[in-house]
Symmetry: C2
Subunit: 189 residues, 2 copies
């Protein structure tokens, strides 16, 4: 049975090096609060505020390290709440997505694009993918037998030597399934 | 193909006659803002505030008519937000569920139980259920082919002469599926 641990992503932000310096000051480097399941990735001690047209989130966790482009990942519930029409996208595919105002202790920046609802996906180390015959970008059906059983019919496989096996879903998806981080998902096909 | 229209339930409250009178005044009767899909049910013009341990919702829509027992229906996201550990329950099954403080223009009431996350379900008129061979309380697998396709593996059938065909899911479930009221679900078995 192809079992995968579940990781629930709360709303968070990835920042470019340029934006980190605008928001926190010249030369600033994020500091590690907690390592994440993907090697080298971490939750930073630092947070920012984001201001949408309808409301704000005063404290959005930054995930490090710095990325090429700033990207805010929220749930669809969050998107309605702050009044931003964020589409479901794979990470990094931010062309044509809405922007938002980001405020840090040293400054603020208005991004022109970068607000997405992350498409559900599973990170596979290359060895896991080979063992199970799964290709990068393959669409998988994945069952969650939590308090509210359901099957996601469109989970994207992402395969790399730099990934660790983990399924990433957002809080809407976790709440709809009644699961939490550390629960187990099963790939059906 | 067994197709069912989807109705997305935002957080709402059903009030007992006694609580309507405490919250709005002696002899008060709810007024109809909009009829709902189920015959005789309506969204009222009236709203109340509810106060949880962590935060509040200042404006919760009341659905009428009055019921035997007061019941607040919220999503799991809402439950985390206000700090109430609401379980997934069928409507009316509120034994042992958390309470909450409800505030109206004429008074307030602290209910001792009644806060639930509604279990997803489909209302069938008896004639629909007979046509498709579906029994009351049967557990169905139901597919939603929205922006984020998924299959709910545990949808409860509720059959009555007083129901109209409609699938009720909450906002977490709708957002996880990328569907809205009026979209179509398909019963798989």
């Amino acid at each position: 049975m192809k079992q995968v641990p579940v990781g629930v992503s709360a709303r968070h932000i990835h920042l470019s090096k340029e934006h980190i310096e605008i928001l926190f000051g010249p030369g600033y480097e994020l500091t590690v609060m907690k390592d994440l399941s993907q090697p080298g990735q971490f939750a930073a001690n630092e947070t920012v505020a984001v201001h949408g047209p309808k409301s704000s989130f005063p404290k959005i966790r930054i995930l490090g390290p710095a990325r090429g482009k700033t990207q805010l990942e929220i749930s669809r519930t969050d998107a309605f709440s702050i009044g931003v029409n964020a589409p479901v996208r794979e990470s990094g595919h931010i062309e044509g997505t809405p922007g938002i105002k980001i405020v840090g202790p040293a400054g603020e920046v208005e991004i022109q694009e970068g607000v997405i609802v992350a498409a559900r996906h599973i990170h596979f180390h290359t060895s896991d993918a080979e063992k199970w015959g799964i290709q990068d970008k393959q669409v998988l059906r994945v069952q969650l037998k939590g308090e509210r059983p359901l099957t996601f019919d469109d989970v994207i496989a992402r395969v790399s030597d730099s990934y660790a096996l983990d399924m990433h879903i957002d809080t809407d998806e976790a709440n709809a399934a009644g699961v939490k981080t550390g629960d187990t998902a099963v790939i059906l096909d």
